[in-house]
Subunit: 227 residues, 2 copies
DNA sequence: AAGCTAATGACAGTCACTGACAATCGACAA
DNA sequence: TTGTCGATTGTCAGTGACTGTCATTAGCTT
Protein backbone atom coordinates (compact mmCIF):
# COMPACT_ATOMS: atom_id res chain seq x y z
CA UNK A 1 0.00 0.00 0.00
CA UNK A 2 2.90 2.29 0.67
CA UNK A 3 5.25 3.16 -2.14
CA UNK A 4 7.96 0.58 -2.25
CA UNK A 5 10.88 2.20 -0.57
CA UNK A 6 14.26 2.16 -2.14
CA UNK A 7 15.51 0.39 0.96
CA UNK A 8 12.99 -2.35 0.41
CA UNK A 9 15.31 -5.23 0.96
CA UNK A 10 17.50 -3.38 3.41
CA UNK A 11 15.61 -4.76 6.37
CA UNK A 12 18.86 -5.52 8.16
CA UNK A 13 20.43 -2.07 8.02
CA UNK A 14 21.56 -0.90 11.41
CA UNK A 15 18.69 1.26 12.54
CA UNK A 16 15.78 0.85 10.17
CA UNK A 17 12.48 -0.99 10.24
CA UNK A 18 12.01 -4.71 10.39
CA UNK A 19 10.13 -5.14 7.13
CA UNK A 20 6.48 -4.84 6.23
CA UNK A 21 5.52 -8.27 7.40
CA UNK A 22 6.88 -7.71 10.89
CA UNK A 23 5.36 -4.26 11.13
CA UNK A 24 2.00 -5.63 10.12
CA UNK A 25 2.20 -8.35 12.72
CA UNK A 26 3.09 -5.83 15.37
CA UNK A 27 0.18 -3.63 14.39
CA UNK A 28 -2.24 -6.54 14.51
CA UNK A 29 -1.01 -7.57 17.92
CA UNK A 30 -1.25 -4.06 19.30
CA UNK A 31 -4.71 -3.60 17.86
CA UNK A 32 -5.88 -6.88 19.36
CA UNK A 33 -4.42 -6.00 22.73
CA UNK A 34 -5.88 -2.52 22.79
CA UNK A 35 -9.30 -3.70 21.69
CA UNK A 36 -9.23 -6.48 24.23
CA UNK A 37 -8.33 -4.18 27.11
CA UNK A 38 -10.84 -1.62 26.00
CA UNK A 39 -13.60 -4.21 25.94
CA UNK A 40 -12.49 -5.82 29.20
CA UNK A 41 -12.47 -2.52 31.04
CA UNK A 42 -15.82 -1.39 29.70
CA UNK A 43 -17.94 -4.54 29.49
CA UNK A 44 -16.03 -6.67 31.93
CA UNK A 45 -13.74 -9.61 31.26
CA UNK A 46 -16.30 -12.40 31.38
CA UNK A 47 -18.83 -10.60 29.26
CA UNK A 48 -16.31 -10.13 26.47
CA UNK A 49 -15.89 -12.95 23.95
CA UNK A 50 -12.87 -13.65 21.82
CA UNK A 51 -15.08 -13.33 18.77
CA UNK A 52 -15.92 -9.79 19.79
CA UNK A 53 -12.29 -8.85 20.16
CA UNK A 54 -11.41 -10.38 16.82
CA UNK A 55 -14.31 -8.69 15.13
CA UNK A 56 -13.30 -5.31 16.53
CA UNK A 57 -9.93 -5.70 14.81
CA UNK A 58 -11.45 -7.44 11.82
CA UNK A 59 -9.46 -10.62 11.96
CA UNK A 60 -10.65 -14.17 12.43
CA UNK A 61 -10.98 -15.47 15.98
CA UNK A 62 -8.35 -18.04 15.12
CA UNK A 63 -5.86 -15.27 14.58
CA UNK A 64 -6.37 -13.98 18.09
CA UNK A 65 -5.10 -17.28 19.42
CA UNK A 66 -2.05 -17.02 17.21
CA UNK A 67 -1.03 -13.86 19.04
CA UNK A 68 -2.17 -14.70 22.55
CA UNK A 69 -2.28 -17.92 24.48
CA UNK A 70 -5.86 -17.09 25.37
CA UNK A 71 -8.11 -14.40 26.79
CA UNK A 72 -6.18 -14.41 30.06
CA UNK A 73 -2.91 -13.82 28.26
CA UNK A 74 -4.24 -10.69 26.62
CA UNK A 75 -5.67 -9.41 29.89
CA UNK A 76 -2.37 -9.90 31.69
CA UNK A 77 -0.04 -8.89 28.89
CA UNK A 78 0.47 -5.35 30.12
CA UNK A 79 1.01 -6.42 33.67
CA UNK A 80 3.56 -8.85 32.32
CA UNK A 81 5.43 -5.98 30.79
CA UNK A 82 5.35 -4.15 34.10
CA UNK A 83 6.87 -7.14 35.81
CA UNK A 84 9.60 -7.42 33.24
CA UNK A 85 10.24 -3.76 33.71
CA UNK A 86 10.65 -4.33 37.42
CA UNK A 87 12.97 -7.28 36.98
CA UNK A 88 15.07 -5.17 34.66
CA UNK A 89 15.27 -2.44 37.30
CA UNK A 90 16.36 -5.03 39.80
CA UNK A 91 19.07 -6.40 37.57
CA UNK A 92 20.44 -2.90 37.18
CA UNK A 93 20.97 -2.53 40.92
CA UNK A 94 24.56 -2.44 42.16
CA UNK A 95 25.63 -5.84 43.47
CA UNK A 96 26.87 -4.50 46.80
CA UNK A 97 23.37 -3.40 47.74
CA UNK A 98 21.81 -5.76 50.25
CA UNK A 99 19.02 -7.82 48.63
CA UNK A 100 16.01 -6.24 50.30
CA UNK A 101 17.35 -2.79 49.75
CA UNK A 102 17.76 -3.62 46.09
CA UNK A 103 14.20 -4.91 45.90
CA UNK A 104 12.86 -1.80 47.57
CA UNK A 105 14.70 0.60 45.34
CA UNK A 106 13.82 -1.41 42.25
CA UNK A 107 10.07 -1.28 42.85
CA UNK A 108 9.99 2.39 43.62
CA UNK A 109 12.11 3.14 40.60
CA UNK A 110 10.10 0.91 38.30
CA UNK A 111 6.84 2.54 39.33
CA UNK A 112 8.39 5.87 38.51
CA UNK A 113 9.34 4.83 35.03
CA UNK A 114 6.52 2.44 34.25
CA UNK A 115 4.85 4.87 31.89
CA UNK A 116 7.79 4.82 29.51
CA UNK A 117 7.70 1.07 29.24
CA UNK A 118 3.97 0.79 28.76
CA UNK A 119 2.71 3.89 27.01
CA UNK A 120 4.22 2.65 23.78
CA UNK A 121 1.56 -0.03 23.63
CA UNK A 122 -1.42 1.18 25.64
CA UNK A 123 -2.28 4.44 27.38
CA UNK A 124 -1.41 4.49 31.08
CA UNK A 125 -4.98 5.14 32.00
CA UNK A 126 -6.07 1.91 30.33
CA UNK A 127 -3.30 0.12 32.15
CA UNK A 128 -4.58 1.37 35.48
CA UNK A 129 -8.20 0.57 34.70
CA UNK A 130 -7.19 -2.93 33.66
CA UNK A 131 -5.43 -3.40 36.96
CA UNK A 132 -8.73 -3.06 38.78
CA UNK A 133 -10.47 -5.43 36.43
CA UNK A 134 -7.84 -8.02 37.24
CA UNK A 135 -8.22 -7.50 40.95
CA UNK A 136 -11.99 -7.85 40.75
CA UNK A 137 -12.24 -10.79 38.35
CA UNK A 138 -11.64 -14.14 40.08
CA UNK A 139 -10.16 -16.01 37.11
CA UNK A 140 -7.87 -13.13 36.29
CA UNK A 141 -6.79 -12.65 39.87
CA UNK A 142 -5.92 -16.33 40.00
CA UNK A 143 -3.86 -16.18 36.82
CA UNK A 144 -2.23 -13.00 38.04
CA UNK A 145 -1.19 -14.57 41.31
CA UNK A 146 0.30 -17.54 39.53
CA UNK A 147 2.33 -15.34 37.25
CA UNK A 148 3.55 -13.37 40.23
CA UNK A 149 4.63 -16.61 41.81
CA UNK A 150 6.64 -17.45 38.72
CA UNK A 151 8.27 -14.06 38.71
CA UNK A 152 9.10 -14.46 42.38
CA UNK A 153 10.88 -17.69 41.66
CA UNK A 154 12.87 -15.96 38.97
CA UNK A 155 13.79 -13.13 41.34
CA UNK A 156 14.75 -15.53 44.08
CA UNK A 157 17.23 -17.18 41.75
CA UNK A 158 18.52 -13.80 40.72
CA UNK A 159 19.19 -12.67 44.27
CA UNK A 160 20.61 -16.02 45.28
CA UNK A 161 23.11 -15.79 42.49
CA UNK A 162 23.95 -12.23 43.45
CA UNK A 163 24.69 -13.35 46.99
CA UNK A 164 26.42 -16.52 45.95
CA UNK A 165 23.83 -18.86 47.43
CA UNK A 166 22.11 -22.03 46.27
CA UNK A 167 18.34 -21.44 46.13
CA UNK A 168 17.60 -25.06 46.80
CA UNK A 169 19.91 -25.35 49.76
CA UNK A 170 19.23 -22.02 51.47
CA UNK A 171 15.59 -21.08 51.98
CA UNK A 172 16.31 -17.43 52.67
CA UNK A 173 16.21 -16.10 49.12
CA UNK A 174 12.81 -17.61 48.39
CA UNK A 175 11.53 -16.56 51.80
CA UNK A 176 12.65 -12.98 51.44
CA UNK A 177 11.28 -12.67 47.93
CA UNK A 178 7.99 -14.27 48.91
CA UNK A 179 7.64 -11.84 51.79
CA UNK A 180 8.47 -8.95 49.54
CA UNK A 181 5.97 -10.12 46.95
CA UNK A 182 3.32 -10.46 49.62
CA UNK A 183 3.84 -6.87 50.71
CA UNK A 184 3.61 -5.68 47.14
CA UNK A 185 0.39 -7.55 46.64
CA UNK A 186 -1.18 -6.03 49.73
CA UNK A 187 -0.05 -2.70 48.35
CA UNK A 188 -1.49 -2.99 44.87
CA UNK A 189 -4.61 -4.51 46.27
CA UNK A 190 -5.33 -1.66 48.62
CA UNK A 191 -4.41 0.78 45.90
CA UNK A 192 -6.90 -0.72 43.48
CA UNK A 193 -9.57 -0.81 46.16
CA UNK A 194 -9.21 2.87 46.99
CA UNK A 195 -10.65 5.28 44.51
CA UNK A 196 -7.40 7.09 43.83
CA UNK A 197 -5.99 6.48 40.39
CA UNK A 198 -2.49 7.86 40.52
CA UNK A 199 0.87 6.33 39.93
CA UNK A 200 2.30 8.38 42.78
CA UNK A 201 -0.23 6.98 45.21
CA UNK A 202 0.93 3.44 44.64
CA UNK A 203 4.54 4.51 45.03
CA UNK A 204 3.86 6.05 48.40
CA UNK A 205 1.79 3.11 49.54
CA UNK A 206 4.56 0.72 48.60
CA UNK A 207 7.12 2.69 50.56
CA UNK A 208 4.83 2.99 53.56
CA UNK A 209 4.00 -0.72 53.57
CA UNK A 210 7.61 -1.75 53.23
CA UNK A 211 8.35 0.36 56.28
CA UNK A 212 5.53 -1.28 58.18
CA UNK A 213 6.47 -4.91 57.60
CA UNK A 214 9.09 -4.99 60.29
CA UNK A 215 6.85 -3.51 62.98
CA UNK A 216 3.91 -5.60 61.80
CA UNK A 217 5.87 -8.76 62.41
CA UNK A 218 6.92 -7.91 65.94
CA UNK A 219 3.33 -8.55 66.83
CA UNK A 220 2.97 -5.69 69.24
CA UNK A 221 0.03 -4.10 67.49
CA UNK A 222 -0.99 -2.07 70.48
CA UNK A 223 1.53 0.48 69.29
CA UNK A 224 -0.05 3.21 67.15
CA UNK A 225 0.26 2.94 63.38
CA UNK A 226 -0.50 5.03 60.35
CA UNK A 227 -2.52 3.85 57.36
CA UNK B 1 -34.38 -50.54 49.45
CA UNK B 2 -33.97 -50.80 53.17
CA UNK B 3 -36.88 -51.72 55.36
CA UNK B 4 -38.64 -48.58 56.39
CA UNK B 5 -37.40 -47.94 59.87
CA UNK B 6 -39.83 -47.32 62.65
CA UNK B 7 -38.03 -44.04 63.20
CA UNK B 8 -38.67 -43.09 59.63
CA UNK B 9 -39.78 -39.59 60.34
CA UNK B 10 -37.59 -39.24 63.39
CA UNK B 11 -34.80 -37.67 61.42
CA UNK B 12 -34.39 -35.05 64.10
CA UNK B 13 -33.78 -37.33 67.04
CA UNK B 14 -30.67 -36.31 68.93
CA UNK B 15 -28.03 -38.59 67.50
CA UNK B 16 -29.42 -40.44 64.53
CA UNK B 17 -29.02 -40.22 60.78
CA UNK B 18 -30.19 -37.41 58.54
CA UNK B 19 -32.58 -39.46 56.40
CA UNK B 20 -32.03 -41.58 53.35
CA UNK B 21 -32.11 -38.72 50.89
CA UNK B 22 -29.33 -36.84 52.64
CA UNK B 23 -27.24 -39.94 53.11
CA UNK B 24 -27.52 -40.72 49.43
CA UNK B 25 -26.44 -37.24 48.48
CA UNK B 26 -23.46 -37.46 50.78
CA UNK B 27 -22.46 -40.78 49.30
CA UNK B 28 -22.69 -39.43 45.76
CA UNK B 29 -20.61 -36.42 46.64
CA UNK B 30 -17.94 -38.48 48.34
CA UNK B 31 -17.83 -40.92 45.47
CA UNK B 32 -17.47 -38.11 42.94
CA UNK B 33 -14.73 -36.48 44.97
CA UNK B 34 -12.81 -39.69 45.48
CA UNK B 35 -13.07 -40.70 41.84
CA UNK B 36 -12.04 -37.25 40.73
CA UNK B 37 -8.96 -37.17 42.95
CA UNK B 38 -8.05 -40.69 41.98
CA UNK B 39 -8.22 -39.82 38.30
CA UNK B 40 -6.45 -36.50 38.74
CA UNK B 41 -3.55 -38.06 40.60
CA UNK B 42 -3.15 -40.92 38.17
CA UNK B 43 -3.90 -39.47 34.74
CA UNK B 44 -3.30 -35.83 35.57
CA UNK B 45 -5.82 -33.03 35.95
CA UNK B 46 -5.97 -31.84 32.37
CA UNK B 47 -6.22 -35.29 30.91
CA UNK B 48 -9.24 -36.08 33.03
CA UNK B 49 -12.66 -35.06 31.74
CA UNK B 50 -15.76 -34.43 33.78
CA UNK B 51 -17.49 -37.12 31.75
CA UNK B 52 -14.92 -39.62 32.91
CA UNK B 53 -15.44 -38.73 36.55
CA UNK B 54 -19.20 -38.92 36.21
CA UNK B 55 -18.98 -42.21 34.41
CA UNK B 56 -16.77 -43.68 37.12
CA UNK B 57 -19.51 -42.95 39.64
CA UNK B 58 -22.25 -43.76 37.19
CA UNK B 59 -24.09 -40.47 37.28
CA UNK B 60 -24.72 -37.99 34.52
CA UNK B 61 -22.10 -35.31 33.91
CA UNK B 62 -24.74 -32.76 34.78
CA UNK B 63 -24.92 -34.17 38.28
CA UNK B 64 -21.24 -33.56 38.82
CA UNK B 65 -21.86 -29.86 38.36
CA UNK B 66 -24.67 -29.98 40.88
CA UNK B 67 -22.18 -31.05 43.54
CA UNK B 68 -19.13 -29.06 42.48
CA UNK B 69 -18.73 -25.67 40.94
CA UNK B 70 -16.46 -27.24 38.37
CA UNK B 71 -13.41 -29.45 37.94
CA UNK B 72 -11.28 -27.03 39.89
CA UNK B 73 -13.63 -27.10 42.82
CA UNK B 74 -13.35 -30.84 43.12
CA UNK B 75 -9.57 -30.71 42.83
CA UNK B 76 -9.31 -28.13 45.58
CA UNK B 77 -12.07 -29.41 47.83
CA UNK B 78 -9.77 -31.27 50.18
CA UNK B 79 -7.34 -28.44 50.42
CA UNK B 80 -10.30 -26.25 51.25
CA UNK B 81 -11.07 -28.49 54.19
CA UNK B 82 -7.48 -28.23 55.34
CA UNK B 83 -7.71 -24.47 55.27
CA UNK B 84 -10.93 -24.46 57.24
CA UNK B 85 -9.25 -26.77 59.68
CA UNK B 86 -6.44 -24.28 60.08
CA UNK B 87 -8.78 -21.33 60.54
CA UNK B 88 -10.61 -23.30 63.19
CA UNK B 89 -7.34 -23.94 64.98
CA UNK B 90 -6.57 -20.26 64.84
CA UNK B 91 -9.92 -19.27 66.26
CA UNK B 92 -9.32 -21.60 69.15
CA UNK B 93 -6.15 -19.77 70.16
CA UNK B 94 -6.23 -17.77 73.41
CA UNK B 95 -6.81 -14.06 72.71
CA UNK B 96 -3.84 -12.92 74.77
CA UNK B 97 -1.46 -14.68 72.41
CA UNK B 98 0.28 -12.22 70.11
CA UNK B 99 -1.01 -12.59 66.52
CA UNK B 100 2.03 -14.14 64.91
CA UNK B 101 2.50 -16.51 67.75
CA UNK B 102 -1.11 -17.58 67.35
CA UNK B 103 -0.60 -18.11 63.63
CA UNK B 104 2.49 -20.18 64.20
CA UNK B 105 0.94 -22.41 66.80
CA UNK B 106 -2.21 -22.79 64.72
CA UNK B 107 -0.40 -24.07 61.64
CA UNK B 108 1.74 -26.51 63.51
CA UNK B 109 -1.24 -27.77 65.43
CA UNK B 110 -3.43 -28.05 62.37
CA UNK B 111 -0.83 -30.06 60.48
CA UNK B 112 -0.70 -32.41 63.43
CA UNK B 113 -4.41 -33.01 63.38
CA UNK B 114 -5.11 -32.71 59.68
CA UNK B 115 -5.60 -36.43 59.25
CA UNK B 116 -8.63 -36.44 61.53
CA UNK B 117 -10.30 -33.74 59.52
CA UNK B 118 -9.61 -35.26 56.15
CA UNK B 119 -9.47 -39.02 56.47
CA UNK B 120 -13.23 -39.09 56.85
CA UNK B 121 -13.54 -38.20 53.19
CA UNK B 122 -10.36 -39.31 51.45
CA UNK B 123 -7.27 -41.25 52.53
CA UNK B 124 -4.37 -39.05 53.64
CA UNK B 125 -2.15 -40.49 51.00
CA UNK B 126 -4.51 -39.31 48.27
CA UNK B 127 -4.57 -35.90 49.89
CA UNK B 128 -0.81 -35.65 49.77
CA UNK B 129 -0.59 -36.88 46.18
CA UNK B 130 -3.23 -34.33 45.15
CA UNK B 131 -1.18 -31.59 46.76
CA UNK B 132 1.59 -32.24 44.27
CA UNK B 133 -0.77 -32.31 41.35
CA UNK B 134 -2.00 -28.87 42.37
CA UNK B 135 1.53 -27.54 42.67
CA UNK B 136 2.44 -28.86 39.25
CA UNK B 137 -0.69 -27.93 37.32
CA UNK B 138 -0.75 -24.27 36.29
CA UNK B 139 -4.52 -23.78 36.32
CA UNK B 140 -4.84 -25.48 39.66
CA UNK B 141 -1.94 -23.59 41.16
CA UNK B 142 -3.59 -20.37 40.07
CA UNK B 143 -6.92 -21.30 41.60
CA UNK B 144 -5.15 -22.46 44.72
CA UNK B 145 -3.33 -19.18 45.13
CA UNK B 146 -6.53 -17.23 44.71
CA UNK B 147 -8.26 -19.27 47.37
CA UNK B 148 -5.34 -18.78 49.67
CA UNK B 149 -5.62 -15.06 49.12
CA UNK B 150 -9.27 -15.20 50.12
CA UNK B 151 -8.46 -17.15 53.24
CA UNK B 152 -5.75 -14.65 54.09
CA UNK B 153 -8.24 -11.84 53.89
CA UNK B 154 -10.50 -13.74 56.24
CA UNK B 155 -7.65 -14.32 58.68
CA UNK B 156 -6.58 -10.71 58.53
CA UNK B 157 -10.05 -9.65 59.60
CA UNK B 158 -10.00 -12.24 62.32
CA UNK B 159 -6.73 -11.02 63.78
CA UNK B 160 -7.68 -7.39 63.41
CA UNK B 161 -10.81 -7.99 65.41
CA UNK B 162 -8.82 -9.89 68.01
CA UNK B 163 -6.48 -6.95 68.41
CA UNK B 164 -9.20 -4.36 68.19
CA UNK B 165 -8.03 -2.85 64.91
CA UNK B 166 -9.72 -1.72 61.71
CA UNK B 167 -8.36 -3.73 58.78
CA UNK B 168 -8.99 -0.91 56.36
CA UNK B 169 -7.33 1.74 58.48
CA UNK B 170 -4.33 -0.21 59.75
CA UNK B 171 -2.32 -2.12 57.15
CA UNK B 172 -0.50 -4.26 59.68
CA UNK B 173 -2.97 -7.12 59.97
CA UNK B 174 -3.07 -7.69 56.21
CA UNK B 175 0.68 -7.27 55.97
CA UNK B 176 1.43 -9.74 58.71
CA UNK B 177 -0.99 -12.30 57.37
CA UNK B 178 0.29 -11.89 53.83
CA UNK B 179 3.84 -12.44 55.02
CA UNK B 180 2.79 -15.44 57.01
CA UNK B 181 0.93 -16.87 54.04
CA UNK B 182 3.94 -16.30 51.83
CA UNK B 183 6.14 -18.27 54.20
CA UNK B 184 3.64 -21.09 54.29
CA UNK B 185 3.53 -21.21 50.52
CA UNK B 186 7.29 -21.40 50.25
CA UNK B 187 7.08 -24.20 52.78
CA UNK B 188 4.46 -26.32 51.07
CA UNK B 189 6.08 -25.70 47.75
CA UNK B 190 9.46 -26.97 48.83
CA UNK B 191 7.81 -29.84 50.59
CA UNK B 192 5.96 -30.93 47.48
CA UNK B 193 9.11 -30.55 45.38
CA UNK B 194 11.17 -32.77 47.65
CA UNK B 195 10.50 -36.46 47.41
CA UNK B 196 9.55 -36.91 51.05
CA UNK B 197 5.91 -37.66 51.62
CA UNK B 198 5.41 -37.24 55.32
CA UNK B 199 3.18 -35.01 57.36
CA UNK B 200 5.94 -34.56 59.90
CA UNK B 201 8.29 -33.28 57.24
CA UNK B 202 6.02 -30.39 56.40
CA UNK B 203 5.59 -29.59 60.07
CA UNK B 204 9.31 -29.30 60.59
CA UNK B 205 9.79 -27.29 57.41
CA UNK B 206 7.12 -24.86 58.49
CA UNK B 207 8.74 -24.36 61.87
CA UNK B 208 12.18 -23.95 60.33
CA UNK B 209 11.00 -21.46 57.75
CA UNK B 210 9.10 -19.40 60.27
CA UNK B 211 12.29 -19.17 62.28
CA UNK B 212 14.20 -18.08 59.21
CA UNK B 213 11.95 -15.23 58.12
CA UNK B 214 13.34 -12.75 60.57
CA UNK B 215 16.98 -13.42 59.66
CA UNK B 216 16.10 -13.58 55.97
CA UNK B 217 14.72 -10.08 56.13
CA UNK B 218 17.75 -8.55 57.80
CA UNK B 219 19.42 -8.99 54.47
CA UNK B 220 22.74 -10.09 55.82
CA UNK B 221 22.85 -13.37 53.96
CA UNK B 222 26.55 -13.80 54.39
CA UNK B 223 25.72 -15.33 57.73
CA UNK B 224 25.50 -19.13 57.57
CA UNK B 225 22.05 -20.74 57.33
CA UNK B 226 20.56 -24.19 57.44
CA UNK B 227 18.29 -25.64 54.75
C1' DA C 1 7.80 -12.58 -12.68
C1' DA C 2 8.01 -17.01 -10.25
C1' DG C 3 8.78 -19.69 -6.23
C1' DC C 4 9.03 -20.05 -1.26
C1' DT C 5 7.46 -19.36 3.28
C1' DA C 6 4.87 -17.25 6.84
C1' DA C 7 0.31 -15.38 8.15
C1' DT C 8 -4.45 -15.88 7.77
C1' DG C 9 -9.24 -17.71 7.31
C1' DA C 10 -12.44 -21.37 7.27
C1' DC C 11 -13.96 -25.50 9.33
C1' DA C 12 -14.56 -29.21 12.32
C1' DG C 13 -14.03 -30.98 16.79
C1' DT C 14 -13.25 -31.22 22.07
C1' DC C 15 -14.33 -29.87 26.54
C1' DA C 16 -16.09 -27.08 30.49
C1' DC C 17 -20.12 -25.28 31.85
C1' DT C 18 -25.30 -23.61 31.96
C1' DG C 19 -30.39 -23.36 31.41
C1' DA C 20 -34.64 -25.78 30.79
C1' DC C 21 -37.69 -29.49 31.07
C1' DA C 22 -39.33 -34.01 32.07
C1' DA C 23 -38.85 -38.26 34.74
C1' DT C 24 -37.98 -40.17 39.20
C1' DC C 25 -37.47 -40.96 44.02
C1' DG C 26 -37.66 -40.03 48.96
C1' DA C 27 -40.50 -37.50 52.64
C1' DC C 28 -44.59 -37.03 54.72
C1' DA C 29 -49.60 -37.08 55.50
C1' DA C 30 -54.05 -39.10 54.80
C1' DT D 1 -50.56 -48.48 51.99
C1' DT D 2 -51.31 -44.95 49.02
C1' DG D 3 -51.01 -40.44 47.07
C1' DT D 4 -49.19 -35.89 46.91
C1' DC D 5 -45.25 -32.69 47.09
C1' DG D 6 -40.71 -31.24 46.55
C1' DA D 7 -35.97 -32.42 45.76
C1' DT D 8 -32.67 -35.03 42.80
C1' DT D 9 -31.50 -36.54 38.54
C1' DG D 10 -30.96 -37.35 33.41
C1' DT D 11 -31.49 -35.56 28.84
C1' DC D 12 -30.90 -32.18 25.55
C1' DA D 13 -29.60 -28.07 23.47
C1' DG D 14 -26.59 -24.29 23.47
C1' DT D 15 -22.48 -21.08 24.46
C1' DG D 16 -17.75 -20.08 24.61
C1' DA D 17 -12.75 -21.07 24.96
C1' DC D 18 -9.45 -23.36 22.64
C1' DT D 19 -6.91 -26.67 19.07
C1' DG D 20 -5.69 -29.16 14.73
C1' DT D 21 -5.87 -29.13 9.85
C1' DC D 22 -5.81 -27.48 5.38
C1' DA D 23 -6.40 -24.37 1.63
C1' DT D 24 -5.59 -19.50 0.51
C1' DT D 25 -3.26 -15.28 0.65
C1' DA D 26 0.42 -12.09 0.88
C1' DG D 27 5.23 -10.61 1.87
C1' DC D 28 9.88 -11.88 0.79
C1' DT D 29 13.56 -13.61 -2.22
C1' DT D 30 16.00 -14.42 -6.53
Amino acid sequence: MRTAETAGKASRTLSSRPGLRERKKQRTRDALLRSALELFTTQGYERTTVDEIAEAVDVSPRTFFRYFGGKEDAALAVHGMAEEHFVASLRARPPEEPPLEALRRAVLESWDTISDAVVAVVPVELFLRMFRVIESTPVLLAAYLRRSAETEEQIARLLAEREGLDVDADPRPRLAVAVFGAVMRVTTRQWSADENGGLEAIRELAAAHLDQVGPALTGNWRTPARS
